[in-house]
């Protein structure tokens, strides 16, 4: 029997692409995707369920669909996406419900993959150059997004201890850049000028969006357990990131940076959340060797990811943003998946 996968956050960039990747895998028998928004990419056989991450719905889905693998891509790692309150609901309560649903008596779940972020390490002047997976962060979390991710990871840690029969994979991704994904960092680099904190030129690490999807697929397919940092090789100064992208840098004052940033945010000239402003001061590096030792190969280095983004950016600046080619239509999707009129195996 093939694998039966539940993807949370199907409407997110990662959920959609992960579902596309798994659809290509003949070993995957069934894919259910959960989200409150419709999928943004075209899917062939994934079943979309419009639902939030409440415990009762999740546990019913897990049992009814006999889910053996959960891919949790719904953790929000970009605090510009939602308010602090909603962030807490999604990251902390959502994860708690999901793990509770996966650990009910007789639940068929055998693997859980969680997509977290290197934000859990923070960014501080006391940091080492490279964080290994075991290295503790050097100070308490200062932002809501960091504490919510830490709390979610805490629930996962408890789950792993209580359920030794489940393969638990926790992936911590560095800042993502790529051809399509929109993050606070990519938006900052999309304009002609990007901010920097005067007197600081931190070393920053990136991971390319394609490598992220390939990594999620890799650990899911091979059942790789443990905590893994996911990031391209090397770190590069923010000034170099800007020159690769062809962006000019404008200084923010090094004292009261957040105070100075507030009016700029109001004017819409700056959308960097405070965790990114800290990153622009001290940077962050995560050691990616454990995942490589597990057999994963990256296609891009940190600088390669930036260059990839820069090429896509130049295209966008020339021809404009391409409109989405796909919009989810409930009836159309239902027709192709379930109508007796559709011939599903033409060769047979």
């Amino acid at each position: 029997m093939g694998r039966r996968v539940l993807i949370t956050g199907l409407g997110t960039f990662w959920g959609g692409r992960m579902a596309q990747a798994l659809e290509q895998d003949p070993d995957v028998e069934m894919i259910v995707g959960l989200d409150t928004v419709t999928p943004s990419v075209e899917l062939e056989r994934t079943e979309y369920v419009r639902a939030d991450q409440s415990y009762s719905i999740l546990s019913r889905i897990v049992r009814a669909a006999q889910v053996d693998t959960i891919v949790h891509t719904f953790l929000v790692v970009d605090s510009t996406r939602m308010s602090g309150r909603a962030l807490h609901e999604t990251n902390v309560i959502g994860t708690m419900n999901l793990l509770a649903a996966a650990s009910t008596a007789g639940a068929p779940v055998r693997q859980i993959v969680v997509k977290s972020s290197s934000l859990v390490y923070g960014s501080s002047f006391q940091d080492p150059v490279w964080f290994r997976e075991e290295t503790p962060r050097t100070g308490p979390p200062r932002t809501r997004i960091e504490s919510s991710l830490l709390e979610a990871e805490g629930y996962l840690r408890d789950f792993a201890e209580d359920n030794p029969h489940v393969v638990v994979t926790l992936l911590r991704f560095a800042n993502v850049l790529g051809t399509e994904i929109v993050t606070a960092t990519s938006q900052a680099l999309e304009r002609q000028t990007a901010p920097y904190v005067f007197g600081f030129d931190p070393l920053i690490q990136f991971v390319e969006e394609g490598d992220v999807v390939r990594c999620l697929e890799f650990v899911t397919r091979h059942g790789v357990a443990g905590i893994f940092n996911v990031a391209g090789d090397g770190r590069l100064p923010w000034s170099e990131v800007a020159s690769i992208c062809g962006v000019r840098l404008l200084p923010l004052p090094f004292v009261l940076t957040n105070v100075a940033a507030a009016p700029l945010r109001q004017l819409g000239l700056l959308d960097l959340p405070s965790e990114l402003l800290t990153l622009l001061r001290f940077g962050r590096g995560i050691d990616n060797r454990r995942l490589k030792d597990a057999g994963f190969t990256y296609r891009y280095t940190s600088a390669g990811a930036v260059e990839n983004f820069a090429r896509a950016r130049r295209l966008r600046r020339t021809v404009g943003a391409t409109p989405p080619e796909y919009t989810y239509e409930r009836d159309v999707e239902a027709f192709f998946r379930h109508s007796p009129a559709v011939v599903r195996n033409p060769e047979a």
Partner: protein, 294 residues
């Protein structure tokens, strides 16, 4: 806590890892479109070359640095260099780093207090020129994995933060962290006694209230301020004669890469190195006829 060890153990990463043979195609190095030469430690060889050009005359003609026992510094493999620390803005770190880099042709990574990273411009420059934050993870990687020379001042900011009247009296050697660093990395400690730094920028008084307000370890008023004025005096050193003596390397017969080492053993070793350094400093001072001419 970001990650508990128990979680790592509970999920046994190695147990389920598929052993995939890596194909030759992916072994080729990835395309890495870097524009600058800033490495993972934040150093830039280009900027370091420029700095060496500027610093060379200061090293040769101003401080007239003299080394004893330089051959005791290993020419290959990792080693932890340990020295006494002095002068309001420490002049000993660049002297040791420049000296060994010029004489032995080996780079030296200077570990400094994290607080450095919070200073705009200065912190960035320090990193580009070869300074690294004194985090045990950084030291381990440099010493054990990259087999480099690492320089550390066990007194920390207490060394340069002391008054001129306490010159050449070693402060407490922290909590012996430097000994643990060397033990974990399996490298020898090479102590270096430095004479001359104390007189290059003597601290006459300190302004604790200002230090607290600025969030820095100390704010000194130096003799240089009185002689050269408040601006130039902050940067200009007196031309004291520098003499450095490299002591015999200390090795530890303990297995490397341990999580912890016996605290008493660590403190004993730290204290014995401190005593050796102190004795050698006194010995060098007995022979010194002049602060300016050695």
């Amino acid at each position: 806590m970001a990650a508990g060890d128990r979680f790592v153990e509970a999920t046994r990463p190695a147990a389920l890892v598929p052993l995939r043979p890596r194909d030759a195609e992916t072994e080729a190095p990835l395309h890495d479109p870097r524009l600058s030469d800033v490495d993972e430690w934040g150093r830039s060889e280009h900027m370091r070359a420029v700095a060496r050009q500027i610093y060379g005359p200061l090293y040769r003609q101003w401080f007239r640095v003299e080394w004893q026992g330089l051959e005791k510094v290993p020419t290959s493999g990792g080693a932890l260099l340990v020295a006494n620390h002095a002068a309001a803005i420490p002049s000993d770190a660049p002297v040791i780093m420049h000296g060994i880099e010029e004489e032995l042709g080996r780079p030296v990574y200077g570990l400094a207090d994290h607080i450095f990273k919070t200073f705009p411009v200065v912190g960035t420059l320090w990193a580009r020129l070869g300074g690294v934050a004194a985090h045990p993870e950084n030291a381990f990687r440099l010493l054990r994995e990259q087999r480099q020379l690492v320089l550390v001042f066990p007194e920390g900011t207490k060394g340069p933060g002391k008054l001129y009247q306490d010159r050449y009296r070693l402060r407490r050697f922290g909590r012996g962290g430097f000994v643990e660093m060397a033990m974990r990395a399996g490298v020898p400690i090479v102590p270096i006694a430095v004479v001359g730094a104390e007189e290059s920028m003597p601290t006459l008084a300190k302004v604790p209230a200002l230090a607290r307000a600025l969030g820095v370890p100390y704010v000194p008023i130096t003799a240089n301020h009185l002689v050269f004025g408040p601006v130039v005096g902050t940067l200009a050193y007196f031309p004291s004669k520098f003499k450095l003596r490299v002591l015999d390397p200390v090795t530890f017969q303990v297995p490397p890469e341990q999580e912890r080492y016996s605290k008493s053993r660590v403190m004993d070793e730290a204290e014995s190195i401190r005593v050796k350094l102190q004795d050698n400093l006194y010995d060098m001072l007995r022979d010194r006829r002049s602060v300016w001419f050695g």
